[in-house]
């Protein structure tokens, strides 16, 4: 099983509902976020293109954060989801400097925190909070190893990209373009 998420940049309007849903669901401390919206305006006026992306941890298959962690607190959990075990984390920040996406932060309690793909919800058969709440239904979540899953089927059908594939991290966050 390999969990992944696909986000349709053509449908996303950048409303930040996913951000608020995540903060509420996961009790993210005020001033921090586990997911965020990036808007990229590109081109020569007046030929401009706007891409809106809801970003979060890429749950990489070849995670530098898991590799760098000196205690094994950062680890691959069910379905390849990268998690931090807070009772093993010493807060050395090696994982934070190792992440090319800067997806991690230090929780005010001292351990390192990040997106969990809402594994606690997924285990109950629900969707991650950000996916469930998206008003334009631009996010798809599922198992890459199952060809009939929503995410496998949309990746089959649409053109997509990942972020900094040249960093060699094999991200599990796909952006439909």
């Amino acid at each position: 099983m390999r969990y992944a998420m696909a986000i349709d940049t053509k449908k996303c309007v950048g409303c930040s509902d996913c951000v608020v849903a995540c903060q509420t669901e996961n009790d993210v401390p005020i001033g921090f976020c586990r997911d965020w919206v990036v808007e990229v305006m590109d081109g020569t006026y007046p030929q401009l293109e706007l891409e809106i992306r809801s970003e979060r941890c890429n749950h990489c298959e070849n995670s530098p954060c898991v590799r760098c962690c000196p205690t094994g607190a950062s680890h691959y959990n069910e379905g390849g989801v990268v998690l931090v075990e807070k009772n093993k984390c010493i807060g050395c920040s090696a994982c934070i400097t190792s992440c090319p996406y800067d997806a991690r932060f230090v929780h005010p309690e001292g351990y390192v925190d990040k997106c969990t793909f809402c594994l606690h919800r997924v285990k109950k058969g629900m969707q991650p909070a950000c996916v469930a709440v998206c008003p334009t239904k631009c996010m798809y979540f599922g198992d890459l190893d199952n060809p009939r899953s929503e995410v496998s089927m949309i990746l089959e059908k649409r053109k997509w990209k990942t972020l900094i594939p040249e960093a060699g991290t094999k991200p599990h966050l796909y952006f439909l373009i």
């Binding site: 050395c92 400097t97 090319p100 230090v106």
Partner: protein, 313 residues
């Protein structure tokens, strides 16, 4: 004009707008660790070569700097941790992929060895020292007898410590400036240079000072060679690494790097050491302090600039 404007809603403390998660603690520790590695390396080297009496300061006096530097460095490392009470988790596992795990275990080996080395030579500093307990005397007598073996272990572990201070950075491919394997040998060389500077400072023997001034000159030459190669590597690499090199070639770290690290920390002390070898009278403290300062600044600048350098996406 073609333009790309990126607007991000993320504003996590210490991460945005620029990563600044590692402050003074890490570079200070890397400097002290490198210094300790340098001092211990020379002590072990000249013991193995049977030159203890020719290079008395290097073998018997300078190593006293090492445990002090390591303990201060360890305190700095501890202060850097955000989840401090869990620090012992470092020692419940060995993770070969993680440079930080390597470092934690290397320190676990090098720190006691450096203390043991000092205990063996304590009478050099305090001639009337008495250990009082026979068991301590017996243990020290055992190591005194096997000093060559201890010196070999110290030589290898101090080299690992010196190289690891650079590998810690170079293992992070997320920060293009750090992602060069040159940092391992460069930081080792810088640590050896700091170690020989300390020896020059503490030594009262002319021949020993001369030898370490010569050694330091060679090491500074190697450092300059490595720095040039580092930039050649960056400039021949991908855009992100060209951008990283440009932080030092016209960017915001240009002046501090070239003035503090290269000119004041390497070229000026090298010139002073050459003049001294040519019999000019130069207060020894000047090149020594400059070398130590340059070595410290190298760690600070690489640490801070590395956190600024990033991938584009």
């Amino acid at each position: 004009m073609h333009e790309e404007i990126i607007v991000s809603g993320r504003n996590n403390p210490l991460i945005d707008p620029q990563l600044h998660i590692w402050h003074w603690e890490i570079p200070l520790y890397l400097f002290l660790g490198g210094l300790a590695a340098g001092v211990l390396f020379f002590a072990a080297l000249y013991t193995i070569r049977g030159r203890e009496n020719d290079y008395r300061t290097a073998v018997k006096i300078a190593p006293f700097v090492a445990p002090i530097a390591l303990v201060i460095g360890l305190i700095a490392l501890f202060l850097d941790l955000h989840h401090k009470l869990y620090f012992w988790r470092l020692y419940t596992t060995i993770r070969l992929d993680s440079p930080m795990s390597w470092g934690a275990w290397t320190l676990m080996l090098v720190t006691p060895i450096s203390m043991l080395w000092c205990a063996l030579h304590i009478k050099e500093l305090f001639p009337k020292w008495d250990w009082k307990f026979d068991i301590i005397k017996d243990v020290l007598a055992f190591f005194e007898k096997n000093k060559k073996v201890l010196a070999w272990i110290m030589l290898i572990s101090s080299a690992v410590l010196g190289i690891y201070t650079g590998i810690l950075f170079s293992a992070f491919n997320a920060r293009p400036l750090w992602n060069t394997s040159i940092l391992g040998p460069l930081f080792l060389a810088s640590g050896l240079s700091a170690g020989s500077a300390i020896t020059i400072w503490l030594s009262k023997d002319h021949a020993e000072r001369k030898r370490f001034a010569q050694l330091d000159l060679i090491i500074i030459g190697i450092e300059l060679f490595l720095i040039i190669h580092m930039f050649m590597g960056f400039l021949a690499s991908t855009q992100v690494q060209i951008d990283a090199a440009n932080l030092f070639l016209g960017g915001e770290y240009t002046a501090p790097f070239w003035i503090f690290v290269v000119i004041l920390g390497m070229i000026v002390p090298a010139i002073l050491e050459i003049l001294e070898l040519r019999k000019y009278k130069i207060p020894v403290v000047i090149p020594v302090v400059l070398v130590l300062f340059g070595s410290l600044m190298l760690r600070f600048i690489i640490s801070y600039a590395g956190q600024v350098s990033r991938w584009l996406y």
